[in-house]
């Protein structure tokens, strides 16, 4: 398939970390305004180290939505939340060897889901937001918030 890179197809066909975490420390669900697709991300965080010890996702979406979810979970697993917050959709896309132009927005969904899960974790634990989590100002034109 010329549409997607081999990496995308690999993560689509064998998605890592699919599923739910019933005892998650943070859950984030985001919807994509462009296409209506939905992603839910669960994270488990070590309260001492602030490291993301486990992560799972559920996605209702296209091939690249599934692949970017999968890749994003791999990229944040074992990382401190502060580092996970640095994850950009661009980094996910690069890790997947690219996406077709009209599919770039799908990767935003993954970035958003990670941030939403962390935000939920912060909320539950009354941790104040840092710079990276300040409210969306709605000017990036991708997430639809």
């Amino acid at each position: 398939m010329a549409l997607y890179s081999d990496k995308v197809m690999d993560h689509f066909q064998h998605p890592r970390n699919v599923g739910k975490l019933p005892d998650a420390d943070g859950v984030g669900e985001v919807g994509n305004a462009k296409c209506g697709d939905i992603m839910r991300m669960y994270i488990q965080v070590d309260p001492e180290t602030q490291v993301i010890t486990d992560v799972k996702f559920n996605t209702f979406g296209c091939g690249s939505a599934i692949a970017t979810s999968s890749m994003a979970t791999e990229m944040i697993k074992g990382k401190p939340v502060s580092e996970a917050l640095q994850l950009t959709n661009r980094a996910v896309v690069e890790a997947l060897d690219g996406l077709p132009a009209h599919k770039l927005h799908c990767s935003v969904l993954a970035e958003e889901a990670v941030r939403a899960a962390i935000r939920d974790y912060y909320d539950r634990n009354s941790i104040p937001y840092g710079e990276e989590l300040r409210a969306c100002e709605g000017h990036c034109d991708t997430c639809g918030h």
Partner: protein
Amino acid sequence: MKIYADNAATTRVSDTALAAMTPCFQEIYGNPSSLHTPGQRAAEKLAAARAIFARNLHADPREITFTSGGSEADNQALRTAAALGEKRGKRHIVSTKFEHHAVLHTLQALEREGFEVTLLDIPPDGVVTAEQVRDAIRPDTCLVSVMFANNEIGTIQPIAEIGAVCRQAGVLFHTDAVQAAGHLPIDVEAMQVDLLSLSAHKFHGPKGVGVLYARRSIPLATLIHGGAQERGKRGGTEDIPGICGAAAAFDEACATIEQNAAYLTPLRDRLIAGLTAIPHTALNGDSARRLPGNVNVCFEGIEGESLLLLLDEKGIAASSGSACTSGSLDPSHVLLALGRPHEVAHGSLRLSLSHENRPEEIDYILEVLPGIVSYLRGMSPVWDE
């Protein structure tokens, strides 16, 4: 197993069509507008192809214009009726919400130019009624355009009834018969159709060849200006190989309509029965008044592209909605028009069969699909059994 179940998107060129094309590439390769023998031999081919289309549509050869495909034929048909309407101060057009984009986008362009367009709602069975058309016609209506068979859900519209309503109201009637031509009998006289479009690659002819039928009394508006080809109404050197292949394919398809329908209908119905047995799965469009090869279902909780990719992995080529919108992210306008909610419309699957599909392929599709559906539902945050 490799299964091609996307014949509504395009079809394999038949042996008959290819045989008709082959001599035109390197032997009878003249320009049909040329006076010399090589040119006149090409002109004879062109005339013969025109006669084949005319005969099978119950039309006159002078009523047949060759175009570069169904889209161009649709565009030219609509532009023609609009130009005639303009002259008589009639700027209202009736069409439907589930037309192909070749029609809908042309209508949008006409709206920008001052036309008013009424798009009929689609009843839940996917069949527009002649009454809906009659009720929508106004004194300033210049055109009714209703497709013969829908390209996504395959439902067949009551063309003869709509034709009668239009004729009685003195309004031109165009039908986009791209999905119907070669699969359903067409008689432009009996059906009182004034303008009709078709496209060869939907009935095992080559891509890039369309036909616009226009009743003799209707002066075509020119879309592509140029030489004196096609009675001066469509410039450009004619694609003789393509046109010959198209005619051969059409002749063959029209001769085997009944036979193919008899073969395909049970296969289609077996697919429909098997798929709708999967929980939370609904057939789109009437189960009987549909093209013999068309199956279209919605699986709740599933997104179409993932489904297609997983099917493709299993060797099954299918589609979700129409091919030409696959570059876009919107759910099918056809399914939305049919009343499916946004997220359900997203989970549609179209399997479109041709006589080249084998019964074993149906078995295989029914074998692998349920597993894929539950796999995707299992991954879906919107799905709770």
